[in-house]
């Protein structure tokens, strides 16, 4: 489904990503973790070309990502993304947030898009909030709206970039529950998160990154029980320690 081979990226002189290799099969769930600044966000954002890579190949759903805008558009239609800071559109209601892309990108009729959106709002358990503005919802509700917004495009792949990091602790679970449900339905997911419980429950593979490299990739039980590298050991002791 997603294939990164020998991908490199620089910000000016700074080598952010070094020879990244990553394969995500259909229906697979990959959790990416690693210290802050290790390039996790950058890597996940390459997949829907919010950032452009400079060396290597990225193929998503059989389409190679290049400067060709058609390919970029095609991939963005198939890949949904959820951000740490929600990035809902504050001037639109929840319903309008959800139906915007189906109407303007998928060319769905408005009525159908709204029914469709209501269905996803029920799935993220906030069907009653459709007419509110994002600013009137709690952080956890906003993030669930953001997930529903991405799902409304019926993506084949979902990308999550630290979806619970900006949330108050009591709201983390409601978002993770929605994500776990999504995983159980067979969605292909790449998820940057430090929620180790989530990783253990749903991940097929944990990818550990440090300083722009993929240092380790293993099944979650192996990775958490017996990390092979010192860097991973250090990282795990830090996040589990406090």
């Amino acid at each position: 489904m997603i294939e990164l081979s020998r991908v490199n990226k620089w910000y000016g002189d700074f080598h952010v990503l070094k020879d990244i290799d990553l394969k995500v099969g259909k229906g697979e769930k990959v959790v990416v973790c690693g210290p802050s600044g290790s390039g996790k966000s950058t890597m996940i954002r390459l997949i829907n070309r919010l950032e452009a890579h400079q060396g290597g190949r990225i193929v998503v759903d059989g389409i190679e990502l290049t400067d060709d805008l058609k390919a970029v558009d095609a991939i963005r239609r198939e890949v949904g993304m959820v951000f740490q800071s929600f990035n809902l559109f504050p001037h639109l209601t929840v319903m309008e947030n959800l139906t915007l892309a189906p109407i303007w990108v998928r060319k769905m009729p408005k009525r159908a898009a709204e029914e469709h959106a209501q269905h996803f709002l029920e799935r993220v358990r906030i069907p009653e909030q459709a007419d509110k503005y994002p600013g009137q919802l709690s952080g956890g509700q906003q993030q669930r709206v953001a997930i529903a917004r991405a799902l409304c495009m019926r993506p084949k792949v979902m990308l999550f970039d630290e979806p619970t990091s900006a949330l108050d602790p009591e709201m983390i679970k409601e978002v993770l529950d929605v994500m776990i449900e999504l995983a159980n339905e067979g969605m292909t997911m790449v998820c940057v998160t430090h929620e180790m419980g989530f990783a253990k429950t749903v991940a097929d593979r944990v990818v550990f990154m440090d300083q722009g490299e993929v240092v380790e990739a293993a099944r979650p039980d192996e990775f958490f029980a017996a990390p092979k590298t010192d860097r991973a050991k250090l990282f795990l002791s830090q996040i589990l320690g406090h």
């Binding site: 558009d73 951000f83 809902l88 990091s165």
Partner: protein
């Protein structure tokens, strides 16, 4: 007694709460007494309202205002040299302008048909002003003037300058260097030049560059100069609004697959323009008043017609009254714009009281 107690307690709280406040209140009351009363006395009590030969005005000069001047010359002030018996046409055109503003101000009317209403309104205004059809006498636009001309210049000025300014602002933030540099060059060049010299260039220099036989109407030249001028200023205001939109909004729109123009039109510009309402209206108001500068190239806008009224010997010397009248007309339009922008800001902001954007960006 109880009917009085509310204002009394309000005054005690707001005007006389401590000795500094009391002092300020008394000082302002004294100034009002000294300035406002004599003014009202002059403007209302001792004013001359009707005197076709201006004799009564001369007699009252110094003690009472001569509104008889406005009574006598208001047709010329409002409609300039437009044929006297056909002045109902610019009057109706001005009313159509005002009606268009009012309809556009109502949010429930922000629908696609509003564009058609504008189109229809502008066609009607054109027909009324030019004539030549439906048995209306043809009036060449050299004879247009006064309020109708001012509204025309301001409305078309803003209607064309605003979309142009959005394109300029987007171009200035473009990632393509050529487009960016062109936009910067244009904006800086125009902003560095006074409007008067732009108008002058448009009226005197532009014809020199045109091939023999090709002429562009003076009114059109002035209008183009004003559009180019206003667009440069508005572009900077719009750019300010664009800069305030967090990057996450662009990214979310892109991640959903929205193409560039849809992203701008549906996500970025609605938010950017909303926060730009106060400075935008500020620029609109300035522009509305700047239309008076067309007098230097011989167009008869409202301020010019007022000034010309004073050249008639019997009314010479009543400049204060004439300019007060012109100011009042300008004030009505500018004040309406200002109040409307405040109301709009409030109603647009009311729904989304707390904002979501920008909480702990990665």
């Amino acid at each position: 007694m109880s009917a009085l107690s509310a204002p009394v307690s309000w005054a005690r709280e707001n005007l006389f709460s401590n000795w500094k406040n009391t002092l300020a209140t008394l000082a302002i009351a004294y100034l009002l007494w000294k300035l406002a009363l004599p003014f009202l006395d002059w403007a209302l009590v001792h004013a001359v309202w009707w005197s076709p030969d201006a004799k009564a005005c001369r007699a009252a000069k110094g003690t009472g205002a001569c509104w008889a001047l406005v009574a006598d010359k208001h047709r010329f002030m409002l409609f300039g040299t437009y044929p006297y018996d056909a002045q109902w046409r610019p009057a109706l055109a001005s009313l159509i302008f005002v009606a268009l503003y009012v309809v556009s101000a109502i949010r429930a009317c922000w629908r696609r048909w509003l564009a058609l209403v504008w189109l229809g309104g502008l066609v009607a205004i054109g027909v009324l002003m030019w004539g030549g059809v439906f048995g209306l006498r043809y009036v060449e636009n050299e004879r247009w003037g006064g309020l109708a001309l001012t509204l025309l210049l301001a409305t078309f000025g803003i209607a064309f300058a605003f979309p142009l300014s959005i394109l300029l602002a987007l171009a200035r933030r473009s990632t393509m260097p050529v487009i960016r540099w062109l936009a910067i060059g244009y904006i800086e060049l125009i902003r560095g030049v006074p409007l008067i010299s732009l108008l002058f260039m448009a009226s005197v220099m532009l014809p020199l560059f045109l091939p023999e036989g090709v002429t562009i109407d003076k009114l059109l030249r002035a209008q183009i100069a004003m559009i180019l001028f206003a667009a440069a200023y508005l572009a900077e205001v719009v750019r300010g609004g664009l800069q305030a939109i967090p990057r996450g909004q662009y990214e979310a729109a892109q991640a959903l697959g929205l193409p560039f123009w849809k992203m701008m039109g549906l996500i970025i510009l609605p938010q950017a323009l909303r926060i730009s309402i106060p400075p935008l209206v500020n620029t609109f108001i300035g522009f509305f008043k700047d239309t008076s500068l067309v007098l230097i190239i011989g167009l008869f806008d409202l301020l010019t017609t007022v000034k010309v009224s004073l050249t008639e010997p019997k009314w010479s010397g009543f400049g204060i009254e004439a300019y007060l009248f012109a100011s009042a007309v300008y004030f009505i339009f500018c004040f309406a714009m200002s109040r409307y922008s405040q109301a709009l800001e409030k109603s647009l902001g009311a729904a989304q009281s707390r904002t979501t954007a920008g909480k702990g960006a990665a």
